[in-house]
Amino acid sequence: MNLWLLLTVNSITLGGLLFLLSAGFSLIFGLMRIPNLTHGSFFMLGAYFGASLGMWFGVEFWLAAIIAAVLVAALGGVMERFVLRRLAGQEQAQVLVTLGISFMIADLCLMEWSGDPITVEAPPALEGATHVGALIFPTYRLAIILLALAIAVALWALIDGTTLGAKIRAGVDDPQMARICGIRVSRLFTIVFCLGAGLAGFAGMIGSPILSIYPGLDTDMLPLALVVVILGGTGSLIGSLLGSFVVGFLYNFGQALLPELAYFVLFLPMVIILVWRPQGLFGRRAP
């Protein structure tokens, strides 16, 4: 009984974290058609930045998370302006450069923070456990659910309710037409790339009290982000939100109930779903 409830709550928590990670990936891919394989590195870098702000300067958790997000967003901006900008439509060059940068980031992190894992304490207000019915559950993980929902709502409001959002939607649907209508698509690209990178960096810091920070965190997380985005369908916020929860549930229940198949619980359903619906569960069929 407890097991079921625990797994359910944890599925939602993990889903929330995955949403923070993958929303940016989805937006970037949806608007710019760039498969950003640096996304896992952004996540790891955000975690390292945030943790270091805390360790070296005593910056408080949430502030550290925000500064880390800004730093990673700035890095993303530089990457977009000086590298990806030149590569519009060149899928192969994009794969090469995003993977190349992820190699560099991984090795730089190893140089700066050595290989020792770093643990980050949850903010004091959220330490300890909360009783959910008969279940004891860490308060911080429950807070992640709320945070993810809040950010989902904020993003949705941004995309659906502001002019910037309207421009982004126009850019996703038909970049050429958007350009003709006088939308500065290039600036839009930079904004979206910064936003996506910043979200990943933020997610890294938010995830660090659960996952801890270690070399290899990037490659552990990147496939999860890919699975979410592919299942949910690219370019759709609702898709990545639902995809995150689907992955959260698959991951938790699959590994707990079918431990013998632990290696396959993510990728087997992914193959089945993609073969059945190549555009993902919630994606639109490509024109």
Binding site: F29, P35, V83, R86, L87, Q90, E91, Q92, A93, V95, L96, V97, L99, G100, I101, S102, F103, M104, A106, D107, L108, M111, T219, P223, L226, V227, I230, T234, Y263, F264, L266, F267, L268, M270, V271, L274, V275, P278, Q279, A286
Partner: protein, 325 residues
Amino acid sequence: MKRIAIGIAILLLAAVPLWVGGSFYVNIVSQVLIAAIFALGLDILVGYGGLISLGHAGLFGVAAYTVAVMLGAGFGHVAAIVAAIALTLAATAVFGVLALRTTGIGFIMITLALGQLLWGLAYRWIDLTHGDNGLSGNSRPAPFGISLDPTNHFYYATLIVFLLVIAAVALLTGSPFGASLRGTRDQPRRMAALGFDVWKIRFLACLFSGFCSGIAGILFFYYNEFISPHALALSASAEVLLMVIAGGSATLLGPIAGATLVVVMKSVMSAYIERWNFTLGAIFVLIVLFMPEGLVPGSRRLSRWLWATLKALRGGTATPAESQR
């Protein structure tokens, strides 16, 4: 001109054990050739077919594991190699049937997931694969009574296979099939309207790339006399893809240049450059910045440009810098 260049290249390769300086380097060249076979096959799909795969290390692994398991079960080399190729082709067919329901990012993701499943299988099917401990083999084949155990013999065997593969790739890409494959990459709808079976063309390309992955996997197993799940990991699939793209996709020499770059960085330069991983990443970024089409086409473009500039200079059009002197 071109024939002379090819002749010189083959001579240089044939003489590798004489000039490369020691068995360690001969082995490195063998590794480059194996990686190049793998990359050349993948390029048929990625470069000529426009379908990016992130799962080919899985196919590579199927071949290597089949040889290891067959030899372990007491079969001979011929049986093991034939079985490895057959199984790899079968696995590739499954890849193709499932992944070719879509193109673009969908294709990347299905191949990625299938590759991860094979990787998981290698880890988890312990009775067969011994999990992460891997499988060792302790014999290389001896075609025509010549043992491949000595470093140089193995190198020559690999070189012969490599030359056969590159010849096959050259024939394939130059054939009408190659032209129609490029057609499906650039204008799939028009090709379909012209009556070509786009799916079938792509499927055949997929099979050929899987075949090359299988050949490379077999050579890899005989070279290392060891196989473990690491060779099937996502990072291995990404690595061979990077070779193709960095060298220049849809060219014959590109994948070879890419394979050379990656193997030399990993295996030779890593002894001198402590942060070789960072350096390799930086080289990829530089390639993209200055030669986004890849090393081989990029250097061709640069040399043409250089040639033209030189010619213009010799033609007497003085540059501003010269006229000031």
